[in-house]
Symmetry: C2
C-alpha cells in the first residue's frame, strides 16, 4: 500500500512582492503516490541489472484530471513506470504519461547528502530548453517533468524517497485577474459545446492522455479542443483561445501545479502576456464545467530565460506534513513472509553479481537438481551451503535415524529429533531444511545404498534389486550426485551409475584430521545412456551430447585424459569395511572442523563446474595453473582437493581415470549396460568379481610374480 499524502496548502509562486495587477496566482502542489509495484520493480532492477550503477533512470509518472469534487489526483508511479514515455502504453485516459528521472543512490548517506538544489535546477533548465526548442508542442507532457531521488534498502525492503515537481519561478509572479468555475465564465451554449469537445478529446486514444491543449471558441459559441501545435492556426478569426490543461487539483480557488510551467511556456514561447487558462476537471468520467475553472492571469517571463545558457530559478521539492522532508515506506510488513524470505535469500547472491561475479548464473543454480547420498556430518552441511548458494532442488538419501550424538555435529538436527529412538534422518533433514528456507524443494528418501562386499541371501535379493532400481531412478532424475556416506563401499554403486549416465559426481570423504574432496571425471562411454524409462533424450540433446563426448572419447583412447573417479587409484575392489569396526571406526571420529571445510569445498567445487563452459568435461586445474584459468571468475577448477589439518595445508591434485577402475572403467560400465542389475548383484555377492573383470586380479598376480623376479635382479637398472 502506498501512503496517502496529506493535503498540502496552496503554494505561493515566490516570495517576491506582489505584482502590479490583481493578486498573486497560487497553485496547489502536485502530490505523489507510489504503488508497491514500483518499488518491487526497482528492487529487481537494482539487484539484477544495475548493481552499483547510480546513473539516473528514466521513468514515467502518470496523472489524470481531478475527478472528484473533494479529492485531488496524484502523480503516480507504478510498476509500469520503468517503461519510458515514447514506448510506454498510451491512450489510457486515466494515465497521462509524464517523463521523470529516478536517482537511486547506493547508500542512505549519499541519499541524504544529495545536492537537491542543483538537481532541481538541472531539471528546470531541461524544461526551459524544451519550452524554447518547441519540444513542448510535440510532447506537452514534458512540461510536468519530474524528479525522484531514492535509496532502496533492499535488505529490509525499506524505501526512502523524495519527489520534485520542478516549476519555473516567474519573476514577477503571475498575477490573477479572474478565477471562477468555467460554467460561470462561459455562456450556457459555450459551456455545452466545450463539454462535448472535451469529452471527445478525452475519448480518443490519440488525445485522451495529452494533458495540455488549446480551446478555441468561435463567435458562434462553438468550442474546439486542439493540440498545442495548432496554436498558429487558432489565431485570428475572432476566436477566443483558452489554454487548457488536465488539472489534478480539486480546490475551487486554485489551479493545480501543471499550470505553472504552462504559463511560463505560453508567455515565453508564444509571448502571450494575458492568458485565459482552463483548468479541466471531471466527474464520473465526463467534463464537469462546474468543477473546472477558467481564470485569467498576467504573465511576463524573465528576460534572462531567453539566454540558452540561463538556469531558471525553480521550486518543487514535495513537502511532507508541511515541511521539506523525504518520505519512507516499508514493504516488509505487507509482504508475504515466505516471499520475503525468497527475495532475501537471493539478495546476497544477486549482490555478488554487482561487482565481483557478474557472470554468476543464479538460474543455473536454482534449477540444478542435487542428490545427496548420506545426511550425516557432511550431508547436513552440504545441504546448507547449497541452499546458501541458491540451489533450490535437493533430495536427501539416508537410511539411518538421528542418534543422540548427531546434533552437535550434524547441523540439520536438534535434540528433539533424537527422542523416541530418533527420527529418520532423511525425513528430519528435509523438514528442517524447509524450516530454514520454506521455498526449498526438498525431498527425503529413506533407503540404504547397496554395497559390494555385503552379500545378500536369496530372499533378500528382491529388496536389493528394488534399492538398485530406486537409486538408478534417483540418479537419472538429478543433475548432480554428492557422495557423502562414510564407507568406501557405499560409494561404489553411485559412482558406477554416475559414470554410466555421465552425471556430475562429487565425493567428500573425511579421515581423522584430513579430507578429500573431488569431482569424478565424465563417464567413459560415448553412446547416449538410455533413460530410466527406456527413452533417450531429444535428438538435439543427443547431438550436443555426442559432439562433446566424441572429443572425450578420442582423448580417452590412451586412457589418461579422462579424470578419475574415487576408485580410480585403488587396486582393490570395495569390500565390507563396516561389520567389524570398533566404536571409534563406526563413529567416523574426525576433528569437528573437518566436515564444514570439506562440505564447503565440495559445494564450491560444484559451483565451479556449473559455471565452467566445459562443465563435467572441464580439465583438472591445480593451484599452479593460475595463468591458464584467469578467465574463470570463480577461480581454478581442481580435480581433487586434499587437506591436512595438522599442517594447515591444502593441495590440489589431478588423477587420471584408470582403465581397470572397479567403478568407472569401460569394462565395468559396459558390463553394467549389458547385464543391468544382474551385474550389480554379482558384484555385491562375489568379492573378487570386480577385480576379476577389470583385470586387477591378473595385475596383482603378475605384480607378485614380478616381485619374486625382482629379488634376482641386479642393481644395474637404476630406473627400476
Amino acid at each position: 500500500m502506498a501512503e496517502t499524502p496529506s493535503p498540502s496548502p496552496p503554494h505561493s509562486t515566490s516570495s517576491s512582492s506582489s505584482s502590479s495587477h490583481g493578486r498573486i496566482l497560487q497553485f496547489a502542489p502536485f502530490q505523489s503516490l507510489v504503488d508497491d509495484g514500483f518499488w518491487r520493480r526497482l528492487s529487481s532492477l537494482k539487484l539484477d541489472t544495475l548493481g552499483v550503477d547510480q546513473s539516473p533512470i528514466p521513468i514515467t509518472g502518470y496523472y489524470a484530471p481531478c475527478s472528484h469534487p473533494r479529492v485531488s489526483n496524484h502523480m503516480t508511479l507504478l510498476a509500469e513506470s520503468f517503461s519510458v514515455v515514447p514506448e510506454a502504453p498510451r491512450g489510457n485516459r486515466n494515465r497521462c504519461p509524464v517523463p521523470g528521472v529516478l536517482l537511486n543512490t547506493n547508500t542512505l548517506p549519499s541519499f541524504r547528502t544529495l545536492d537537491r538544489e542543483s538537481l532541481l535546477q538541472k531539471e528546470a533548465k531541461k524544461i526551459l530548453e524544451d519550452i524554447c526548442s518547441g519540444k513542448v508542442e510535440e510532447d506537452p507532457g514534458v512540461l510536468s517533468s519530474f524528479l525522484v531521488i531514492s535509496y532502496a534498502d533492499l535488505k529490509k525492503w525499506g524505501f526512502h524517497y523524495w519527489f520534485a515537481f520542478p516549476a519555473l519561478v516567474l519573476d514577477p509572479p503571475a498575477s490573477l485577474l479572474d478565477l471562477r468555475p468555467a460554467s460561470e465564465v462561459l455562456s450556457a451554449e459555450e459551456a455545452a459545446s466545450l463539454s462535448t469537445a472535451c469529452n471527445k478529446w478525452r475519448s480518443s486514444t490519440l488525445t485522451a492522455d495529452i494533458p495540455f491543449f488549446l480551446v478555441s471558441i468561435s463567435s458562434n459559441s462553438q468550442a474546439n479542443v486542439r493540440p498545442l501545435k495548432d496554436w498558429e492556426v487558432c489565431q485570428g478569426d475572432g476566436q477566443k483561445i483558452l489554454y487548457g490543461f488536465y488539472d489534478p487539483c480539486h480546490l475551487p480557488n486554485n489551479p493545480g501545479w501543471p499550470l505553472r510551467n504552462f504559463l511560463a511556456f505560453i508567455g515565453l514561447r508564444w509571448k502571450v502576456g494575458r492568458v485565459q487558462f482552463f483548468c479541466y476537471r471531471e466527474k464520473h468520467g465526463l467534463a464537469d464545467l462546474g468543477l473546472s475553472l477558467i481564470g485569467e492571469a498576467l504573465v511576463s517571463p524573465p528576460e534572462a530565460w531567453r539566454d540558452p545558457q540561463s538556469v531558471p530559478k525553480a521550486v518543487g521539492w514535495e513537502l511532507k506534513g508541511g515541511k521539506l522532508s523525504s518520505r519512507f515506506i516499508s514493504l516488509a510488513e505487507s509482504m508475504d513472509p515466505e516471499r520475503l524470505a525468497i527475495s532475501a535469500a537471493d539478495l546476497n547472491l544477486k549482490l555478488m553479481r554487482w561487482r565481483t561475479l557478474p557472470s554468476l548464473s543464479l538460474d543455473v543454480l536454482s534449477s540444478v537438481r542435487c542428490l545427496l547420498l548420506g545426511v550425516g556430518t557432511l550431508g547436513c552441511e552440504v545441504a546448507r551451503i547449497l541452499m546458501a548458494w541458491g540451489v533450490r532442488k535437493i533430495t536427501l538419501v539416508d537410511s539411518g535415524r538421528v542418534a543422540m550424538s548427531n546434533p552437535v555435529r550434524q547441523s540439520l538436527y536438534t535434540f528433539e529429533d533424537c527422542l523416541n529412538g530418533g527420527e529418520l534422518k532423511a525425513i528430519a533433514a528435509a523438514r528442517n531444511l524447509k524450516r530454514i528456507f520454506p521455498a526449498v524443494e526438498v525431498e527425503g528418501v529413506v533407503m540404504a545404498i547397496p554395497m559390494p562386499g555385503h552379500p545378500v541371501s536369496a530372499n533378500e535379493t528382491a529388496s536389493l534389486l528394488e534399492d538398485c532400481k530406486r537409486l538408478q531412478a534417483l540418479i537419472s532424475s538429478h543433475d548432480v550426485v554428492f557422495l557423502l556416506t562414510d564407507t568406501r563401499e557405499s560409494r561404489w554403486l553411485p559412482t558406477l551409475l554416475c559414470a554410466n549416465e555421465n552425471k556430475i559426481a562429487i565425493t567428500a570423504a573425511l579421515g581423522f584430521d584430513s579430507y578429500l574432496v573431488m569431482r569424478h571425471g565424465a563417464g567413459p562411454l560415448i553412446s547416449i545412456p538410455a533413460n530410466a524409462d527406456g527413452s533417450s533424450g531429444t535428438s538435439e540433446d543427443v547431438n550436443a551430447f555426442s559432439a562433446k563426448i566424441n572429443k572425450l572419447s578420442t582423448e580417452d583412447v590412451d586412457g589418461d585424459q579422462r579424470l578419475g573417479c574415487y576408485f580410480c587409484s585403488d587396486v582393490v575392489a570395495p569390500v565390507d569395511s563396516i561389520s567389524n569396526r570398533t566404536l571409534d571406526q563406526q563413529c567416523t571420529v574426525t576433528r569437528p572442523g573437518l566436515a564444514p571445510i570439506a562440505s564447503a569445498l565440495a559445494v564450491e567445487l560444484l559451483v565451479g563446474i556449473l559455471h565452467h563452459p566445459e562443465g563435467i568435461y572441464a580439465p583438472g586445474e591445480s593451484t599452479s595453473s593460475i595463468l591458464s584459468s584467469t578467465e574463470q571468475p570463480l577461480g581454478i577448477l581442481p580435480h581433487q582437493i586434499r587437506g591436512f589439518l595438522p599442517q594447515c595445508s591444502q593441495l590440489t591434485l589431478i588423477g587420471q581415470s584408470s582403465s581397470s577402475c572397479t567403478a568407472c572403467c569401460d569394462i565395468v560400465v559396459s558390463e553394467y549396460r549389458k547385464r543391468g542389475t544382474d551385474f550389480i548383484i554379482q558384484a555385491i555377492n562375489h568379492p573378487t568379481y570386480l577385480e576379476d573383470i577389470t583385470g586387477l586380479t591378473e595385475q596383482k598376480k603378475s605384480a607378485s610374480s614380478f616381485l619374486v623376479d625382482w629379488d634376482n635382479e641386479t642393481d644395474d637398472d637404476a630406473d627400476f
Copy 2:
C-alpha cells in the same frame, strides 16, 4: 534396572552314566544380575581409559547366601565391581566378593565369534590350579571365579553380555547319598549350636564374606565354624566335619552351584571321598537350618587332574530361557534423554582419544569460557563447531535482529526467527543452541560494540560508557574471545581489552573469496591486570603468571617476539567503514563456502592453543615448521591462516606485534590502564587520536617527507 533372570532348572553335572551309588547330584546354576551402574562404569572405563584395548579386565562379583525360602540369590555385578578383590571393600555380609574376568570386545562380531569353549576351559584350569596350589584355602572365593564376555555399544547404550560360572566336571559325577534340611539331620542341640556359630561367623567383618568354611561338631554337640585352612586342625578328636558354603540357591532338593567346585576341591585337595556338605541359607539375616541343607555325596576326582598341565572338562555358560544364548540390555530407554545427549556428545570426543589423540583434554574444553562477538555467518558456525569440540560455556553477543536473508547462511536461525521483524540474534542463537544440545551453558547478550570512528554526542556518552563497561566485564569473565563481527572498527575495543587482560583472542574475517583466521599475541604488559572488580588473582596465580610474562617481557623488549594482533600490520587507526557502504558492502557478500571454512579453522586454532603447553604464548608455527612441532598431536599452531578460494590455496603467516599498533601496543594499553573509559571515549570520538599517541601520525609525516626526498635519490641504494 537390571534384568531379572528367569529361574533355571537344576543342572546336571554331566551327561555320563549314573555313578554306582545313589542318584546323581544336581546343582542349581548360578544366576547373574548386573546393575546399571556396572554398565555405566564400564562405558566410562572404555571411553576414557581403555580405548581399543581388549585385554581382560579383572572384576569382582558379589553374592550372598539365599535369604528367602522362595528366591535364590544372584551373582551380582555393581559399579564397585571394577575394584578388584584384594582391594575391594570387605566385610559386607551381603556382598561376598568373587573374582571374575570381563572380556569386553570392540565389536559385536568379535563378541559373537569368541571361542567360548576355550575361554571356559582356561578359567576352569585356573580354578584347578588354585585348588592344587592351596590358594583356595587362603582365598576360598576363587572357587567361584567367573567370566563375563561383553560388547558395549556405547553409541546406543546397549550391552550384549554372557556369564560363565566355570564348574569342573567330575567324571564320574558326584552321587548323592542323602540330602535333607539341616534341622532334620542334626540334633536340636547341634542345630542350635551350629546356628549360633554361623551367626557369629556371619557377624564378624573378618569372616562374614567368606563363602566357604568348615563346620566341626564335637561329640558334645558343640559346633564351630572355621576357615578352610584349619582343615588339618579339625581332623581327629571324633569331630564331625561339615563342608559348608554360602548357598545362593533356595531349592529344597538341590544345592547351589558353588558346591560343584567345592566338592572337586575337597576330593582333590583333601582326598575326601565321602563328603558331608552344608548348604548354608538364611532368613531375616540369621542362619535358618530349616532352609539350609545337609547332604552327603561320594566324590572321586579324575586322576588326570593331578597332572599340572591338565585341562579339566568344564561347564558353566549361563542359559537364557533354557538355551545357550547371550543377553542384551539397553539402558537408553531408562536414561534421561538429556543425560543421554550429554554422553552421546562426549562420545565422539572420547573416541578421539582411543587411537589418535590420547592427550586431548576434554576437561579443558568443557570448562573453557568462550565469548563470541557477533552471531552472524561466522558466529553461528563457530558456536556450532565449539559445541562439537565439547565446549560447553558459550556467550553470544550481538545487537542485531534476524533478517530474512540470514537463515540460509547463518546456521543457528530458521525462517521462524525472522518473522515479526526478526528476533534478537543473541537471544535466538542462544535458544537454538540449547535446542541442539540442552546441556550447553549459553547466554545471549544484546549489545553493540563501541567503535572508533563512530563519534557519539554528549547525551549518548553515558550509554556508550555502559557498553564499554559491559564489554570489559564480559571479556574479564571469559577465557577466550572470538572476534566475528563484520567491520574492522568493531574489533578494536575487544582487541585492546584482550591485550590488556591477556585473554586469548581469535579473529576470523571474510573477504569476497578469501579469509583470514588468526590468534592475537599475548598482551604487552607484564603487570597483572586488575580484575574487573578491582581484585587481582591469588599470589600463586600471580607468581606463575609473572614467571611466564617475565620471559615474554624480555623477549618483547626489541619488539619483535610477541605475535601481532589484527591491527598490528595496519598503519591507520580504525575508522567508520559502515555508514557509507553500498548494499553489497553492507551485506558482507561472500562466497557461501568461506564462512564454514574460516569458522572451522578458528575453532581448530583455539583447540590447538588450549592444548599447547605455552598456551597464549606459543610461538607462531608455519606449515614448513613441521619438524619442530611433531610433539603436538593436533599439528602446528599457526599465527595467521589466510585462504584464497579461487586458488584453492591456504597459507600460514607469522606477523610480529607492532610497537605502534593502535590496539595492542604498550602505549595504547598503558594509556587505557591509566585513563580507562576516558581513553576509549577519546579514541572513539577523535579520529586521529590513536594515530597520534602511537606515533603513526608522525610516521606518516616522515614517510611522506621521505617519499619526497626519495624522488631525488639515485638508484644506487639497491636495497631500498
